[in-house]
């Protein structure tokens, strides 16, 4: 029986891998997701046949309750709230690993007290790691969820580094004591868990809203690593493979997000705000824009669009806030019907999590062929007639490319300023996350269209229809 169970875990792991492989194209992706779900179902069913599982009552209830909550959340969540949902799910994954580690410890204590044989050092280390990573993921994710949902202040909260360091050292000492003598040091195991829960909060509190994509990706990775560590505790290869796939995925995404912001992971985690206080003093105020900003109204934009051959939209998170994705799609469709090439240029940090903007546009039925990533579209801007920026700011600031003194210098940007005409739809001249003025807004070929994105887009649609 045990052979069959382990063989089934292998099948589940293969299904996970093939499923993820199918995510390489939007066409095969739904099938890939299905394969992953089938793999999970197999893993659950064969585990129920394990000789270690003898009573089913509570299991049945817990499965029903968990499935019900999960299904409800999946059905009702709005796409703009997807980052929160993934954040809290990461937390649940970490929490589950923590609880399983705790239960495994209690069971093994029972064996120890009865004078049975207990596993050695490797098991102890895996136990500690599984509880530690699980606990940090749990509370870290809850704070991330709170920040994204607006329950917790989104600003970077300064936590004294000395405090975090001391807590880290205390945790390390407790962990060593547990590893030295796991079953007589139960109190210290509890301290490791409590300390890790606190650590999770302290690590995410200092991170500001703009860096949330990195944090979610990193916590995603942690939830996988926690599962893998639990696999070492239980000697279960299904957990180890599943967990390490997620761990790898999260790390890759973390890396992509860091590169897109030109920051190191250490800087995101411990660096505080993007722009330091000394840099802040050097940032010019309102005089930066004075007398240099040109304006256009939606009707003028419509006339220029009529005569364009290629148009690129640059959506930012402001677009989603204004719920203007649908108006954007409608305008794009209208232009396409007039044989104008329409594309959407998507910066990696355009949304609140990796790939978020793509999902928001897909929901508004923008075809995925029209969504072009930064590296692919940048060489094309010089051949583009009109660029319309909707709620993006720092990611189109040419200072990041041209001005070595700029605080965001080196951050990869969309080279929109190379297009013939650039329209920036924006409520005001307020700065983006970096808190600096945008060189683009005063460029020769730039025109500001002030107003709410949805409103402005609808006026443009109206004007084009009337032309």
């Amino acid at each position: 029986m045990s052979q069959i169970i382990n063989f089934s875990y292998l099948i589940a792991a293969v299904l996970f891998i093939v499923g993820l492989k199918n995510l390489s194209s939007p066409k095969t992706a739904p099938r890939g997701n299905m394969l992953g779900a089938i793999g999970m179902l197999i893993a659950v069913v064969v585990t129920l046949l394990d000789k270690g599982v003898v009573s089913y009552g509570w299991i049945f209830i817990a499965v029903i309750v968990g499935s019900g909550i999960g299904a409800y959340m999946a059905k009702t969540v709005q796409m703009t709230n997807m980052p929160q949902m993934v954040a809290i799910f990461n937390g649940f994954g970490g929490g589950a690993s923590l609880l399983v580690a705790g239960a495994a410890y209690l069971e093994m204590s029972q064996v120890f007290n009865q004078g049975g044989e207990v596993p050695g050092l490797q098991w102890d280390i895996a136990l500690i790691l599984s509880a530690l990573i699980g606990a940090v993921t749990l509370t870290g994710s809850v704070v991330a969820f709170g920040k994204l949902q607006g329950i917790v202040d989104e600003q970077a909260v300064a936590i004294p580094k000395l405090f975090i360091k001391s807590l880290g050292i205390a945790l390390g000492i407790c962990a060593l004591l547990v590893i030295a003598d796991p079953f007589d040091m139960g109190l210290f195991f509890l301290l490791v868990i409590v300390g890790s829960l606190v650590l999770g909060v302290l690590l995410v509190m200092p991170i500001g809203g703009a860096d949330m994509p990195v944090v979610i990706a990193l916590l995603n990775s942690y939830s996988g690593l926690a599962a893998a560590a639990t696999g070492f505790v239980l000697h279960n290869n299904g957990l180890i493979i599943g967990g390490s796939l997620v761990g790898a995925s999260g790390l890759i995404l973390t890396n992509i997000m860091c590169k897109a912001m030109n920051r190191s992971l250490a800087n995101v985690l411990f660096g505080g705000a993007i722009v330091s206080d000394t840099d802040k003093a050097a940032i010019p105020g309102k005089e930066f824009y004075e007398g240099k900003v040109k304006q256009a109204d939606p009707e003028e934009v419509a006339m220029i669009l009529e005569n364009a051959q290629s148009v690129v939209f640059v959506p930012g998170y402001g677009l989603a806030v204004a719920q203007a994705q649908h108006a954007n799609q409608e305008l794009g469709k209208l232009l396409q019907e007039r044989n104008i090439q329409v594309r959407h240029a998507i910066h990696p940090v355009a949304g609140r999590m990796p790939g978020h903007m793509n999902v928001l546009l897909a929901e508004a039925e923008v075809p995925y062929e029209q969504m072009v990533e930064m590296d692919a579209i940048n060489p094309d801007f010089s051949r583009t007639d009109v660029v319309i920026i909707l709620g993006a700011n720092d990611v189109v600031n040419p200072a990041a490319r041209d001005d070595p003194k700029s605080p965001i210098y080196g951050m990869p940007i969309l080279d929109v300023d190379q297009a013939k005409t650039v329209f920036i739809v924006k409520r005001s001249l307020s700065p983006g996350f970096a808190g600096i003025p945008n060189q683009l807004f005063i460029n020769e070929n730039s025109l500001m269209v002030f107003g709410d994105a949805k409103d402005v887009l609808q006026k443009m649609i109206q004007a084009i229809k009337e032309l």
């Binding site: 997701n33 509570w58 649940f92 493979i241 390490s244 997620v246 793509n358």
Partner: protein
């Protein structure tokens, strides 16, 4: 070979496999990738089921922890796969 070395070998190889397949996922699908991989991290359900299942060494408290872990892991699994499916359908050509 000890059990640990076997497990560790599998762990390292799985990370490399993960790296290879996930770098091929286009940025357009990174959000579904995250929610889908989130569901996969619910594989902890195996451990949760074993803890809640009441083997000879379990205590009331360890069973309790296992039951709560099942709830959390199931939210992750069902919620993760379902919401991923919902998103991926949006990317399908109309």
């Amino acid at each position: 070979m000890s059990l640990f070395i076997v497990s560790f070998t599998i762990f390292i190889l799985a990370i490399f496999v993960g790296y290879e397949i996930i770098t091929k996922v286009p940025p357009t699908l990174h959000t579904p990738l995250m929610s889908g991989s989130n569901a996969i991290s619910g594989i902890t359900i195996i451990g949760a089921l074993l803890s809640a299942g009441g083997s000879e060494n379990s205590t009331e408290f360890s069973t309790f922890l296992g039951v709560i872990a099942i709830v959390l892991a199931m939210i992750n699994i069902v919620g993760g796969f379902m919401v991923t499916d919902r998103m991926l359908r949006m990317f399908k050509k109309k």
